[in-house]
Amino acid sequence: MYKYLLESVDGIQCFGIGTFLLFFITFCVVTIRTFIFKKEDMDHMANMPLED
């Protein structure tokens, strides 16, 4: 049954691969950019709850 359902959409494998790639790229971009954040900005924001 599963084989039949899998075959019923053309290029179904694109969904899985495309989705994973999309996530992987987003994740890498967020991570890399986060780690080059200026330390003083980070400290400022991290301390915001304590400064009200």
């Binding site: 019923s8 969904f15 924001m45 915001m48």
Partner: protein, 708 residues
């Protein structure tokens, strides 16, 4: 130079939501205890409105939307003002939001026991209440974004991103889930049908957990935990990655509620993969919370606020470890439809949401009343009773879940089911259900102690309705410096943040749902599957009204034990006229998808009158009112018209003969009942015949008919 501006924070609205959270929380917990008692002592069901089927959604809605919902608003209204250095944009909108939300809750408290429901789990409320929720949510959004746009602090702290993602995602989820065609003021049919409806429902249902029970509470964790610990969050970088990864991944995970069902395999696989990936951001957030307490662990022993928060974060970690594990198909094959799921969600609801709410309340009340907590000792008592309550609730239900799965799947050496009678597997877990009542009651008693403590704290202090604050005015135009960090630019611009969050959560929904809805081959048609007859339709709506879906599934998975016990496994093409789908998510009673033709009509008649008459020891509520209440067919023409509009192939003009058709079928059932010894005059005009018609139809469309 900036001018220092003086302003006031609004504490009254925070207090109102806090009190509402606690009061509704008590109601929700009490209803939980009642339905737990009803499962052990079915005599406590008083038909028609005080039955398990109708009260169960009242419990879930009260806990999710009233207890946690008001808790969210309490946390947001307090922290948002302070993080933005601004009073809420409009006091008027704050109070319209407050009373509007309480009105939604009151409407739910009336309609659900009255049997007015859409049957969509966590989205049961009827369409007029859906409209009210939309209005209230928009008002909340306007007030929140108004405050954000008129803030004095340029940067948006991570908690606010979680609030923004919550607002936009809940709006999208609520609107898509609520697309329905009204039939009357209290009834409607959803746009989607069968498998598609199931997918949309669990895309909604799972993300209600994600974006109502999780993201706003994570925002609160990122604000209140550093406050209570008096130190900044362990890693702000981790919180950024936590946020983006969590909202991106969460939205895909819904199909893990539908593993091994008739949902196409590729959607199931996507759901599984993303659910397993979820463990990374979830645990990143949990560790970030726990590590915030670095160097402050000694205070945890003496500060009840930190105690509640630590257990809350640990419960979050446990539930978010268990969730991905339950999404592995081989684990889900065992756990699904059992009490394991109930144990899992209560670790989240009691531990994560409950304890974080209590922690925040204990932190807030003394500050808003300018005093100290009335009794630290009582708060500690609350903490320990509550913790014991969670353990006594969860452990027996894990045990019950495993027992159920093992018994359902056990075969004798001869190859037959070892426990062929489903009831045997129910009776076996009754002791666990009893211990669960003890757990729930302990948790409730703890909450009563908490209310008393907060009441006394309020009595000894003086409430500060408006809290003075000052901050420099915000520079309207921040020059963009070359090489400035990308995220700094985004987080200074809330509308871009809103847009990015929307894109993130939209991608998941679109990729999963759109092909299911628009590609016909996703749901292979079966030529013998026909629309329900008018009487069956009326019976189906009664089935929905009584909340039968709370205990009975209509989805047979392709496992040997299930096909042996229930019959041929379910095909997606069988459900194309099921609006709404009624697959259910729990088997307190057996699956009913192949119920049609299994028993004579008289069996169903007697079973509804008194389930123990046919199944001694059954814990199903009795439904004598179905034998007495007149069958109301007046809405049938409107229902037929609405369903035809949605694509059910009822012929033109069929609505004109629908009532007559229903009456003819009712007569036939009354005749068959009489032949089987049920002499009940006028039974053809009672609700029971419609229920029988529906139950006898279930799953029969693809049964091989014997040649006459």
């Amino acid at each position: 130079m900036n001018n220092i501006q003086q302003f006031q924070y609004d504490n009254k609205i925070t207090r109102a939501f806090g009190m509402a959270s606690f009061i509704w929380g008590m109601v929700g917990m009490l209803v939980g205890i009642i339905i737990a008692l009803q499962l052990v002592y079915p005599v406590l069901n008083y038909g028609p409105w005080f039955t398990f089927g109708r009260l169960r959604p009242l419990h879930t809605n009260a806990v999710v939307f009233a207890f946690v919902g008001n808790g969210i608003f309490m946390g947001i209204y307090y922290s948002l003002q302070r993080l933005l250095k601004a009073r809420m944009w409009s006091d008027k909108l704050s109070w319209i939001h407050f009373w509007g939300w309480q009105a939604v809750i009151l409407c739910a408290a009336y309609t659900l026991p009255m049997g007015m429901t859409t049957s969509a789990e966590y989205g049961e409320l009827i369409w007029p209440i859906d409209v009210l929720i939309t209005l209230v949510w928009v008002i909340f959004g306007v007030n929140m974004f108004g405050t954000i746009l008129t803030r004095r602090e340029s940067h948006l702290y991570v908690a606010i991103w979680f609030y923004i993602a919550t607002w936009v995602t809940v709006a999208v989820l609520h609107i898509v889930r609520s697309i329905e065609i009204p039939v009357s003021f209290t009834e409607s049919y959803p746009l989607f049908t069968g498998v598609q409806d199931a997918l949309v429902q669990w895309w909604y249902g799972h993300n209600a957990v994600a974006f109502f029970l999780t993201t706003p509470y994570l925002g609160m964790m990122y604000y209140f935990l550093p406050k209570a610990a008096n130190r900044p969050v362990y890693s702000y970088k981790l919180s950024i990655i936590h946020f983006w990864a969590l909202i991106f991944i969460y939205i895909w995970a819904g199909p893990h509620h539908l593993l091994y069902t008739s949902l196409p395999d590729w959607v199931q696989s996507l759901g599984t993969v993303f659910s397993i990936m979820l463990i990374a951001p979830s645990w990143g957030g949990m560790l970030n919370g726990l590590l915030t307490l670095r160097g402050a662990w000694d205070r945890v022993a003496s500060d009840p606020v930190l105690k509640f928060m630590v257990v809350a974060v640990i419960a979050y970690g446990m539930a978010t470890f268990e969730g991905p594990m339950l999404s592995i198909k081989s684990v889900n094959a065992i756990s699904h439809f059992t009490d394991w799921t109930i144990a899992h969600v209560h670790v989240g609801a009691l531990g994560w949401n409950g304890f974080l709410t209590f922690g925040v309340l204990y932190w807030l009340w003394p500050r808003m009343y300018r005093t100290t907590l009335y009794s630290t000792q009582l708060a500690n008592v609350h903490f320990w009773i509550g913790t014991l309550g969670i353990i006594f609730y969860a452990v027996p239900l894990y045990w019950a879940g495993w027992t159920q799965a093992l018994m359902w799947k056990e075969f004798t050496p001869e190859g037959t089911l070892a426990w062929g009678n489903f009831l045997d597997t129910v009776i076996q877990i009754m002791p666990m259900y009893m211990i669960r009542i003890v757990g729930g009651t302990l948790f409730f008693i703890g909450a009563v102690v908490g209310v008393y403590n907060l009441y006394k704290t309020a009595k000894q202090g003086q409430f500060m309705p408006n809290e003075n604050a000052e901050a420099p005015a915000r520079e309207r135009h921040i020059p963009v410096v070359v090489g400035d960090h990308w995220h700094r630019r985004i987080e200074g611009r809330p509308m871009q943040m809103l847009l990015f969050s929307t894109i993130m959560i939209a991608i998941g929904g679109i990729v999963q749902i759109v092909p299911m809805v628009f590609i016909d081959s996703q749901v292979p048609k079966i030529s013998t599957v026909k629309p329900y007859t008018p009487l069956e339709l009326a019976g189906r709506d009664l089935y929905i009204k009584e909340g039968c879906v709370g205990c009975h599934s209509q989805q047979i998975r392709p496992f040997r034990d299930e096909t042996e016990r229930y019959g041929e496994y379910s095909k997606s093409g069988e459900y194309i006229y099921d609006r709404p789908f009624l697959w259910g998510s729990k088997r307190t009673g057996p699956d009913l998808w192949r119920e049609g033709g299994k028993y004579p009509d008289s069996w169903h008649y007697n079973h509804m009158w008194d389930p123990t008459a046919m199944s001694p020891g059954s814990i199903m509520p009795a439904y004598p009112h179905l034998l007495e209440e007149p069958l109301d067919l007046r809405d049938l023409p409107a229902k037929i018209r609405a369903l035809r509009k949605l694509g059910t192939p009822y012929p033109e003009g069929f609505e004109k003969i629908a009532i007559n058709d229903a009456n003819i079928q009712a007569q036939k059932i009354a005749l068959s009942l009489a032949e089987q010894g049920v002499k009940d005059k006028g039974i053809e005009s009672k609700e029971i015949v419609a229920i029988i018609a529906y139950l006898q139809r279930l799953g029969t469309d693809i049964k091989v008919q014997k040649k006459q």
